[in-house]
Each structure stands twice: as C-alpha cells, then as structure tokens.
C-alpha cells in the first residue's frame, strides 16, 4: 500500500483509503485487505470484530500508518495482528 491506495476488506464491507504508510499489509477482521473485492468473502475473526466507523481515521501507536474509513463494516483494522485505533484529533472551529 501507499498513500492514496484504496483497500477493501475481504471479510466485510469496510473500505479504507491510505493516508499515511507504505509497504505494509493492512488487515480487516483479521484478514489481509485487497485492492479488489474478492469473489467470496471470508468470515470476521472474533478478535477483530469491533467494526469500523465511517469517516474515522485509524492509526497505529507508532504513527507510521493512517487509514481513512470510507465505507464502514463489521471487522476492525489491524496491521501485523496489532489493532489500529481511532485517531483522536482535537476538533478545530470551522474556518470556512
């Protein structure tokens, strides 16, 4: 993956766009994500079933990867088996 790549879950409806991070394999519901929708969807692993939320950004602890959820689903995101978490950004006042 690289910034701008769109990735789809192979086990649920989740889709993300890569904001930051290159050369890593993002997973959803415990299974590697792909650029194309698979012919047959697998099942969501119980350990990665918290779901994804539309428009939220998901990051790792190291700050090396950031994924924007553009379609929500039942699986949750991880890299190398380590769960990603929602980036909590201090909301800015609207300036436009």
């Amino acid at each position: 993956m690289k910034p701008g790549t769109k990735l789809k879950s192979t086990v649920c409806n989740t889709e993300v766009m890569v904001i930051r991070g290159s050369g890593l394999v993002a997973e959803c519901g415990g299974a590697p994500m792909a650029e194309e929708t698979p012919a047959e969807k697998g099942s969501v692993a119980a350990a990665f079933a918290e779901g994804t939320q539309m428009g939220k950004r998901y990051v790792d602890d190291e700050g090396t990867v950031e994924l924007l959820c553009v379609k929500p689903g039942e699986g949750s995101l991880s890299i190398d088996g380590k769960a990603l978490h929602i980036k909590d950004a201090k909301p800015l006042p609207s300036s436009d």
């Binding site: 950004r57 800015l92 006042p93 436009d96």
Partner: protein, 496 residues
C-alpha cells in the same frame, strides 16, 4: 487521492440529506453526486484541458468542481469582475476549456472553448448521469487552478493538487461533524480559495450550504434567519455592513447563529469588539490563509476571542488583533531576509510547510529545497505562539534603509477618535528613497484633524522616522470584494 471522495462519502452516508440550497432549489448529497458524475462525462467528451466557471456562486460550482475532479481535469474558477482584456488573456491560457456561465463573453473574448450557460450545464449534467460510469481518471493530479490577482505582473496560475486539498480537509475538518440542522451561509465568490474551501469543508462536515451569490446585508440577514443558519464566513467589510443594518433597525432573528469565521482582510479591532458584544452567544474565528496554502493555515478560535475580549492583560487583549496559532498540520516560521528563523517578537516573512501547502504555480514552484513556502506576508509571533500579521512583505516601507511596517502606523491612527480608517504606504522620496504617506478617512460627524495633530500623535507613540511626510484625506479607501486593501491604488495618490 481525489477530492471526489469527499462528495462520495457524504452521499454514501446519507444520500437524501440536503447539502445545498441555492435560489430556492434544494440539492441532496445524492443529487449532487449524480450530477457531478454526469458532468465528468460531459467534460471528458468535450476534450477540454480545463473546466472553467465564469459565473456567480450556484450549484454549478460544486457540480463542476467534483465533476472535473472525477474526470482528472483541473477546475478553474474565473473572476467575472475582470476587465475584458484581462479575462480574455486568462481564457486563452486555459484553452480548450469547458466554460460554464457567461457564454457570450467567453465567445467574444477567446476561441476554442465549449461553452454552456449555468442552467444548460446543470441540466446536461443531470441527464448525463444516467449512463455515467463514475470512473475516476487520474490526470495530472491537479484539482484546482486559481489565478492570483496579479497586482504587479501577469496573474500567476496557482495549482492546488488533490493531495493539497485533501490534506487541508483531513487536517481541519472531522467527517460528518455537523448536526443535521446545521447550515452554513456562503457568500464568498467561487473564484476565491475561500469559495472552494467552503464547498469542501461543508460537504465533508455534511453541513448544509445556503448560497448567497451576491452579498447584500439585508438578504444575508433574511437568509440567516429563514434558513436558521448556524455558521457563516464573512470578510470584515461584510460584517461591518451587517452590523450597520442591524443598528438601523432591520428586523432579524440570529438566535441560531453559533459560529462566524472571518478573514480575507484586516479586521478593525473596534469592529470585532462590537460584534463580540452584539452576539454574545456566537463563537468567532479569525482564519488566515492564502490561495497557495489551500486556505486556512492559522486561526484564532472562539475561546481566544472571548478571553482577549474579557482580559485586562494588554498582551492577551492584543490577541484580538492576531490570527491565532497555526493549525496542527502546518509548520510555521518567521524568517529574516536571509531566510534565518527569527525569535518571538521579531518581524519577518512568514514561511509555512505542510501537506496542504502547494506553493506551486503552472510556471514554477515557489517552495524551497526543504518544502517551505515563503508567503510574502510579513508577521511576528508572540511568546505563546500567536501570529500577528504585519502586511505584505512587499508593503513594507523602506525609508533610508529602515523597514517600517504600515500596520504599526495604522494601529496608532486608529486610536484617534476622528479617524475611521487609514492606510500607510511608501511614497517616492528623493532624500529617503521612500517616505511615509498616509491616507485617512474621517469618521462622520467629526472635524478633520490638522496634519500637525496627526504627526504629533505618531511621533509621540512611534519613532520620528514613522511620521508621515504626506497626508491625504479621502472619502473611502479602496478595497477589493474580499475586503483586501488595494495599496497600489493608494500609492497612485502620492505619485506626483
């Protein structure tokens, strides 16, 4: 990355929700998405290299912006106020374009374009949506091309890439953060960066936009009340005209108004103080940005406004005149003429870096080797990192080798009860190279102060080098429609 995603996400989340109100017609996110997909087909079929909008604000602006994004073609909103010769030159530079809006003028001034009126374009886009593929074309990666106003030379074509605009939106707006009833009153012209950022931010926040194509205070007040507007962006002159009409007794209900952002020109301290007192429930945000930075790079938020308004500490009070702190995704430095970073308190040129910072023109990039963009704006930071603007770097008056910021002189003049507005510029001088000249506007009902009185005022507060050699009393100062003071016009007063 493509900004089309912004509209796609809003439409996926709630296709029926109303995203735009213009001339009484209400557009859902789903309807805007379909029209944008149809528009992309029209643009690709036409073989154009640019999509231009030569029109006031309407639904055609977002349909063209997102349609062009999907088609991988730069969107070029043009300033319809330009004189024929200037506009013709710009149209020639983007030929062959798909031009939406003023068909007669386009055909009279330039050749080789596909031209459609607003209503013909919107109707064609809607009917083309049925067979539209929605396929995303990459193109050059340029989302928008905006011609700068070109005060000294030919206008430059500033390029904003999809990555710049997405960087700005992702860094400053939370997706779908607006409540379903929220509404944003948009009255900035579409050819200005604020017109583009208003579309992107509102759609990403899923905040309904109410378009007011030509600003007029009574209509603004009526729409704000009828549409229960919660958010608005104004330039200082617009705010002044709204307050004037309210003082004159125009009936309005602004109880829904939660937030007002302003920018584009210098806000007179007495005007913002007045607004804070008049709208105690409204949060005010001062936004500072440039075309080349995809809009806002620093902002002074509502809490800072109230803290400054209510403080007795002069340093805190002064922040009402600042543009706040840089947004978290932008790095900002003040540098001297040699490009060395300056400490707090020292005036210099503002440099910025970040994903939203393009600094790129069709002709060349203005970024340095480390990716920093020299804004040509002068400014300084206070001890807590609040940014104060001190005019354009080009506006600095150089008198006998001494740099004088027009703002320091204007700030002193503003303290005189009879002075409603003022501008300081450098007038040609045989002795000094440049010398200070001021143009002042007298407040109605006040006597014009004598030249000596104004000179003494400045001499007592600043150094003697700041004392104006020339003083002109004028009816009003020249501003453009975004509230930006046109110093070049004032310089003409002192040419002879």
């Amino acid at each position: 990355m493509n900004i089309f995603l912004i509209l796609q996400m809003a439409a996926d989340t709630d296709p029926e929700r109303i995203g735009l109100v213009c001339d009484g017609r209400r557009w859902s996110y789903g309807a805007l998405l379909n029209a944008a997909k149809g528009a992309a087909e029209l643009f690709v079929e036409s073989g154009c290299t640019h999509v231009a909008l030569l029109d006031e604000s309407s639904e055609a602006a977002p349909i063209a912006l997102f349609g062009a994004a999907l088609a991988g073609i730069p969107y070029v909103p043009l300033n319809y106020r330009l004189a024929d010769a200037d506009l013709g030159a710009l149209l020639d530079r983007i030929s062959p374009a798909y031009v939406i809006g003023d068909v007669d003028r386009t055909q009279r001034l330039s050749k080789g374009h596909t031209c459609k009126t607003r209503s013909d374009f919107v109707a064609a886009a809607e009917s083309a949506s049925a067979g539209a593929t929605g396929e995303e074309r990459e193109g050059e990666g340029i989302a928008a091309q905006i011609f700068t106003s070109g005060t000294t030379a030919a206008p430059k074509a500033a390029l904003l890439r999809h990555a710049n605009l997405m960087g700005y939106i992702l860094g400053t707006v939370e997706f779908c953060s607006a409540a379903e009833d929220d509404a944003q009153l948009v009255c900035v012209p579409p050819y200005h960066i604020a017109g583009i950022s208003a579309l992107l931010s509102s759609i990403y926040a899923m905040r309904r936009m109410v378009l007011l194509p030509a600003f007029e205070p009574d209509t603004w007040l009526r729409l704000a009340s009828e549409e229960r507007v919660t958010n608005a962006f104004l330039v200082p002159t617009m705010l002044a005209r709204i307050i004037l009409r309210m003082d004159e007794g125009v009936e309005t209900d602004l109880s829904s108004l939660q937030a007002v952002a302003y920018g584009g020109g210098r806000m007179p301290p007495e005007l913002i103080e007045r607004a804070l007192a008049l709208f105690p429930q409204t949060g005010f945000t001062n936004a500072y940005g440039l075309t080349e930075t995809s809009s806002t790079i620093a902002l002074l938020g509502p809490e800072d406004h109230r803290a400054a308004h209510n403080s007795n500490d002069p340093a805190v009070r002064a922040r009402l005149g600042s543009v706040g702190k840089p947004v978290p995704t932008v790095e900002l430095e003040i540098r001297d003429d040699e490009g060395r970073p300056l400490p707090p308190g020292d005036r210099g040129e503002i440099y910025v870096r970040g994903e939203q910072v393009s600094g790129e023109y069709r002709e060349r990039s203005a970024l340095d080797a480390e990716g920093w963009f020299p804004t040509r704006d002068a400014g300084w930071l206070d001890d807590e990192g609040y940014l104060f603007l001190a005019g354009r770097a080009d506006d600095v008056i150089v008198r006998g080798g001494e740099n004088i910021s027009p703002g320091e002189i204007e700030d002193v003049l503003a303290t005189h009860p009879a002075i409603a507005d003022s501008a300081a510029i450098g007038a040609p001088s045989v002795e000094w190279g440049e010398t200070v000249a001021i143009a002042v506007v007298i407040r109605p009902g006040h006597k014009t102060p004598g030249d000596d009185e104004l000179r003494t005022l400045i001499k007592d507060r600043l150094r003697s080098s700041r004392v104006p050699e020339h003083i002109a009393v004028v009816e009003e100062l020249p501003y453009n429609e975004m509230g930006k003071l046109l110093r070049r016009e004032i310089r003409k007063l002192f040419q002879e």
